[in-house]
């Protein structure tokens, strides 16, 4: 029996902490995140339950290296509520984390909130801009105006956070390439430290999906591919190095919390719908506030889709998700980390990727995708999963 994770691994794997704040004022058309409109005493009950949930985690003295508050809209919490959530976070992190990101919607950015965040030790703000074009914002069902973006950005900068990210979206219905270029240029003018550019995704159970199935909007992979390429080239030229499919940063500003995820390290997720990969297991909380509250009260967490993390599973996933990053994967290091995985199967497949110009490799055994390969990362991912025949998910009842 192989013990996992191996003892020496525990010490060197950085641990991330994700807190899901499930509240939004309204629902955006494209949104598939779990979120709800805060009603009655939902917020105080949520905050208490997060604190209770932290107590359920078997931390085993592990230090939290990075924290990420996402949503929903964490900024919907009032300053005092943010402080309460922050204190709960700090109680389990075992000291101030090296990186602490908070997602904010432009309309929620206020000096008092920012002050509390700074005081808590937040290092990184991620601002959900999506677009600077009022028409496109409206078409997405977003609740802010371009003017609010500028104001929010100024306030954040004035507060002096170490790193600021802007989230943008492209390939929106009716968006021309010029419009997208204008959005990018406008984002660059603000000189953020980090940019996330997301291709609009049609997720099931969203208003956008309904429009798609009614034929009101159409999928256009050619257009999407062109937008992707253009974005990568343009940002590269502008000094923002791509480090993942949708993420770009100035030197030293890559989001470590997310790198940690793609490297198949460990993370603990708190709040409804939050996922954890920790202590040999992977699983999620129920994507429903009331259900999650009951679970926490009953002392349960991360029960949905529970999967045991075998070395084989982690090996495949390290490659599949690692290839999303421009740095790719270091195969010798992964082989050392998961020596029992059936690497031979993969070794037959990987050369094909190189021959076909989808990937490149260095002599030391680092493998990464070319731009064309990155555009096909999902197909490559499922081909890799298929190449490892025995490593299917092993659900736990």
């Amino acid at each position: 029996m192989v013990e996992f994770p191996p003892a020496q691994e525990k010490a060197e794997t950085p641990l991330g902490l994700y807190v899901h704040v499930p509240f939004c004022a309204t629902t955006c058309d494209f949104c598939a995140f779990y979120q709800t409109v805060p009603q009655g005493d939902a917020v105080p009950r949520y905050l208490e339950a997060v604190a209770a949930e932290t107590a359920r985690v078997e931390w085993a003295g592990r230090r939290v290296a990075t924290v990420f508050w996402g949503g929903g809209t964490p900024g919907l919490l009032r300053a005092r509520e943010l402080r309460q959530l922050g204190e709960a976070t700090l109680r389990c992190s075992g000291g101030p984390p090296e990186e602490w990101s908070v997602e904010l919607a432009p309309a929620t950015v206020t000096p008092d909130r920012l002050a509390v965040l700074q005081e808590l030790g937040v290092t990184r703000i991620s601002l959900g801009v999506q677009s600077f074009n009022a028409g496109l914002l409206d078409a997405l069902g977003r609740q802010h105006m371009p003017a609010q973006v500028y104001r929010a950005y100024e306030l954040i900068r004035a507060q002096g956070f170490a790193s600021v990210n802007l989230d943008l979206m492209f390939a929106l219905p009716g968006q021309s390439e010029e419009q997208w270029r204008a959005d990018l240029a406008e984002a660059l003018r603000l000189a953020p430290d980090h940019l996330s550019t997301y291709c609009l995704t049609f997720e099931e159970d969203t208003a956008l999906w309904v429009k798609l199935s009614q034929g009101k909007v159409k999928l256009d992979p050619e257009k999407e591919a062109a937008f992707y390429r253009r974005t990568w080239e343009f940002l590269e030229e502008s000094g923002y190095a791509q480090y993942e499919i949708s993420n770009f940063a100035r030197p030293g500003h890559a989001c470590r919390h997310n790198l940690n995820t793609w490297r198949m390290h460990e993370w603990v997720g708190l709040g409804p719908s939050a996922a954890s990969q920790f202590g040999g297991w992977r699983g999620s909380n129920p994507p429903d506030l009331a259900l999650w509250l009951t679970e926490v009260a009953a002392g349960r967490r991360a029960q949905a889709d529970q999967t045991r993390l075998t070395p084989g599973l982690l090996a495949v996933d390290s490659v599949v998700f690692g290839l999303r990053m421009n740095e790719g994967v270091r195969l010798p290091r992964l082989r050392r980390r998961f020596p029992t995985a059936r690497w031979e199967a993969l070794m037959d497949f990987l050369p094909k990727l190189i021959i076909e110009g989808l990937a490149e490799a260095s002599v030391e055994g680092r493998l990464w995708l070319t731009p064309r390969g990155r555009l096909l990362a999902d197909s490559i991912g499922s081909a890799i999963i298929a190449a490892f025949p025995s490593e299917n998910l092993t659900p736990i009842l």
Partner: protein, 601 residues
Amino acid sequence: MKHDPTLTRNFCIIAHVDHGKTTLSDRLLEYTSTIAKRVMTDQHLDSMDLEKERGITIKMHPVTMTYPAKDGKTYKLNLMDTPGHVDFSYEVSRSLAACEGALLLIDAAQGVEAQTVANAHLAFTQGLKIIPVINKIDLPSANLELCTRQLEDILTIPAEEVILASGKSGIGIEEILEAVISRIPPPRWSDYPTTRMLVFDSKYDSYRGVISHVRVFSGTFKAGEMMMLMSSGQKSEIKEVGMFHPGMIKCKELRPGDVGYIVSNIKSVDEIKIGDTITHANKPAAEMLPGYKEVHPMVYCGLYPLESSDYEKLKVALGKLRLNDSALQYQQETSVALGFGFRCGFLGLLHMEILQERIRREYDVDIISTYPSVVYRVKKHGGQVIEVDNPVNLPDPASIEEISEPTIKASIHIPNEFLGDMMSLIMEKRGSCDHTDTLDSTRVMLTCTLPLNEILVDFNDRLKSITHGYGSMDYELGDYRPSDLVKMEILVNGDPVDAFACIVHRSKAETQGRSLCEKLAEIIPPQMFKIAVQAAIGGKIIARDNVREMRKDVTAKCYGGDISRKRKLLDKQKEGKKKMKQIGKVSIPPDAFIQVLKTNH
């Protein structure tokens, strides 16, 4: 009550495809209260899902109606709705043999078409009384004068016999029913001294076993009696008899003139041949009723389960389908690319497509088919002649003296102005025109000989497009003719795929190779890797194309919370590929060939 066969009439409805047979049947069923208006659906007798979806009749459907006629007597009318499509003309001849008369429908807007003539001839030769009905007269484009003239000129049916009707608006229904009674003779041969009934169809029911559809000519049949199949002498006890209303309803006894069904102890469909005569075991008849010509499949293809573990399931499916469809033939075979499967014979491409669809739906087996082929006769040096229905089995060219291919005799009806274009199509398809007949001042009928393999693919579509939908064709198998034929192989990513091999005429190999590669490259879903599709003859590449390259397949957002979800999706994506057949690196959709054959240029 004493049974009086003179109060029974047996008739079928025949016509060119889509001329409104099933819709007219609806009105007859309604008028005779066989089916109450509130449960009536459009094309009610088309009960199979596939029939409903495609709006065509595939199987003949018998139904018994009761009609109080104007002469004060109440008649039992046995109606059979038949399919119009040429692939199913076998169904028409089987129903004709069980009837004394036929309603011949002509679409008032289309006039006489190829199957109108073919089916009318079938009815004439069987000695049936024909009642001509010009249907769909509600259509604004109806041309009654032209239709009447065509009936007189082409089929020598006198104008005064014509009934005008509309199945849609319910015009002429009573007139038709009265004509059935006054013009169609009562059941023939009912005074034959011993008992005889004709098996015109059979069906397999998982509870009751084989259900034979029969037309009684003389004598009576009851449950409990012993019957005998005249062709084999096999005896069996009759367990149930009944009639179609149109669902199967049990009755006490079947009597002369009746159309109904019998359930016996016979469990295997192969034991009851369609066209056989059933008689009483203890007092057998001396002569059999005239049976049917055996039908022979025209087109063959290999059918393989997508999952090799489904082989048994596919075998069972074919066995059951054969019970209801004696025209289907199958035999086990193996393919390098596809594993274990069956070589199946069909009456035509539509028949092939319908059966594949039924296997997928009714038996829930995912299948892939090979490229269809006709049966070639190969004469080897030394005189030995073999039949080849699978291109893979074509012997080494060095050992072949001559290959012959089957031809068809086609009669093609077209408006005069398209004669030139039609002739060039026939030339292109390596055919020859034996003679041209003037049907009337606007239409001609071409009698031609064409190689069967040339009409398989897109002949009918081309015919329709040349004639703007006004041309039609009927055909029957002709003789075999020597021809310069070669085997064309298709290579996917450099590997020959046996399932794609086909036999083509040398002069057309290049064009066909190019178009096949082009279509396959189009149909194979975009691939991550560069994949070539090539056609080769004797190892020499004659055409190539590239499968489309996949442009984008990547999830934009993938963070901690998405890992599990994404993992599942990628897993599913991998599963999704299983719905296709993996050949080397490439996933081929199971219906690739049906699609290839369908796409026109």
